[in-house]
Symmetry: C2
Subunit: 390 residues, 2 copies
């Protein structure tokens, strides 16, 4: 059923159009709809697993929590990284065992910690004294790993300082955890979203390995290294193939950390982004004045109904129309809401067919990650993005 | 029951804490909850009406579409500006007559135009040829006003060019509407969100009045001027009182336009923002390193669960805690999600009590507008903002 490892390692990109896009071409939709190909996600899971070797994959559920998708991944042996009580419930409902779920958010409500503990979750992240104290009170005896600040300066989105503590705090936090009856088992970090080349992990791994060995020298019995996410998805620019990328990351990890007993990784975007496509529609094409060089193209989906990651034009989703064989011209692309912030691409306009008009379909590629749950409940009365798992 | 006009005209600000905040103090909430005082909204409606005189108020439903609120306003004689089919259905369900609802979004799906026409809506906005054509086909004979580009350069958020056409296109669009059997009745514009002083309307009104008189001289029988929104809400910085502000705007309108038969205004934020407060909770307080000058304070609500308008730190909501009598220090304020973008105030940190800790309540003031419907359906598994109309 599945591609052989050689086939997986050898693939350089997802064939395009994929199944999701083919499905969109064959159907009509009343409203913007994300179609996601679960088979493609599973194939990527196996490709990443082939590259990651003995590191356990904890899918970052927040990237796309469609229940059918989580269930398919659980059936394949995938583990999960949950950000909240609702995500834990989702994973449990999809068939994951509590031992396969980590509660990886460093910012947890006390009541959610208590819920997770009661549900049998035993592995938690923390990066602050107060979080350690909450864990000790509401999940006594739990395993905790300390998230440290680290980011590849070259990542498309170096993460802010929101998550993680300075390296010098890791030891004191572990000591506090021990005193409070918790089990400080290791470290985690996040290299940065969309870390496009495996070689970009090097400097971050250097820093974390230095800390790891120092803590062990201090006597902390570390046996868990969580390398987080950062596995890239293609958005039109070239990225390395999943298995080869993951294998290169692991080689760098092994060279620095030696024989770590438990390794885990938390891919999200890298598993689902390219497996999804959104069926959208042109609502209006206009020219603001007769002398304007650009047209404005308004879609039925925008920043508030699923495309929040166009913020600052960071991610540029490839667009496909049925007129792509016709001559094109530059367009400013915007969403349908009465909000002037709801403009998708303006600084760098997109090329779209000159004949494009209201009612035309637009397929927005590689939208499987961070779209469906970013959608607002009903801004301007527009419904949230529909999701269809095929 | 209601304040007299003198009382309304004389008030300079909403008493603080208002009823919503008092309600929050007296109750406990399981999750972030917006409490909005319908009586306060009604009082502001009457204050604005006192100032606007014969201009009809069309509440911009998108600012806060809580059904109870829309019904209260409908009962008071308020009219409505709808952005979508769902908002039209909401207004009709709340008791508004079709003649009291304008479909003010310039970007409308053809099927939504047909729905509105069938429901009896007769007044539509447009700013492009294709929109005129869609209206002619799906709402034959309807009244249409042309939205023109105009923005006060001093507004807190001068709107982008997303809405409206260049002034020189208004005439050709009206001619096209006439030829297509529509009734081009007038003009609309938007001065810019949060136009804090009434005097800032002057330059925009100059431009629109010049166009208005030119179009009339060309023979267009204009009888509707829609002055849009822009009525400010207070977020800690001083704004003029609603009635006095509106009266000053209308004096400027009258001076430039003379005796316009139909005037309308579309306040949204100005009606609801200050009538709402959010009950939130501290989830974690941490310090990234022992030498950091700032603490990080993480709330159970963030950019993706209602506070999207903190984008670029544009709006700074006043925060109230139960420790406000204690010494304070600077904090970076962030939401609870595993997303590094979910930071509310970082460039300009907020002063919060040094004793603040997980579980403490934080009231976020003046959050009645553009919060509840901006909330995502469940990013990271966190529920959307709860709304309670009192």
């Amino acid at each position: 059923m599945y591609a052989t490892q050689a086939e997986i390692l050898g693939r350089t990109d997802i064939p395009s159009p994929g199944r999701a896009e083919a499905y969109i071409r064959q159907h009509r939709f009343d409203q913007p709809t994300l179609v996601i190909d679960a088979g493609e996600v599973v194939a990527r899971f196996h490709a990443l697993r082939a590259g990651l070797g003995r590191a356990a994959i904890h899918y970052a559920v927040k990237a796309n929590p469609a229940p059918e998708l989580v269930a398919r991944l659980a059936a394949e042996g995938c583990r999960f990284d949950a950000a909240s009580r609702a995500e834990i419930e989702l994973c449990l409902g999809a068939g994951a065992a509590p031992s396969e779920i980590s509660f990886g958010n460093t910012i947890k409500r006390a009541s959610d910690i208590a819920f997770a503990h009661a549900a049998g979750i035993t592995l938690f992240a923390a990066d602050a004294e107060e979080e350690i104290d909450k864990l000790a009170e509401h999940a006594p005896g739990a395993e905790v790993y300390i998230r440290v600040l680290a980011s590849a300066p070259e990542a498309d989105w170096p993460l802010s300082r929101k998550f993680g503590c300075a390296p010098e705090k890791a030891g004191p936090l572990m000591a506090r955890a021990l005193r409070a009856g918790l089990r400080p088992v290791g470290l985690s970090f996040h290299v940065g979203s969309q870390t496009r080349r495996a070689s970009m992990w090097g400097p971050v791994l250097d820093d974390v390995a230095r800390l790891w060995h120092a803590l062990r020298a201090e006597g902390f019995d570390l046996d868990l290294l969580n390398i987080g996410g950062g596995f890239p998805a293609g958005y039109g620019e070239p990225v390395e193939a999943p298995a080869a990328y993951a294998a290169q990351v692991m080689a760098q990890v092994d060279a620095r950390f030696g024989n770590v007993r438990r390794l885990m990784a938390e891919p999200g975007r890298g598993l689902v982004a390219e497996a999804g496509a959104i069926a959208a529609e042109v609502v209006l094409v206009s020219q603001k004045s007769d002398t304007d060089a650009y047209r404005w193209v308004y879609l039925d989906i925008g920043k508030f109904s699923g495309l929040a990651e166009t913020m600052d034009e960071a991610i540029r989703y490839p667009l496909v129309t049925e007129r792509d064989h016709e001559p094109t011209g530059p367009c400013i692309l915007a969403g349908p809401s009465c909000d002037s912030v709801d403009v998708l691409y303006e600084k760098r306009p997109v090329q779209l067919p000159l004949g494009l008009r209201a009612g035309d379909r637009v397929v927005i590629r590689n939208t499987g990650a961070y779209t469906s749950t970013y959608a607002s409940v009903g801004f301007n009365g527009f419904p949230p993005l529909d999701v269809l798992v095929i």
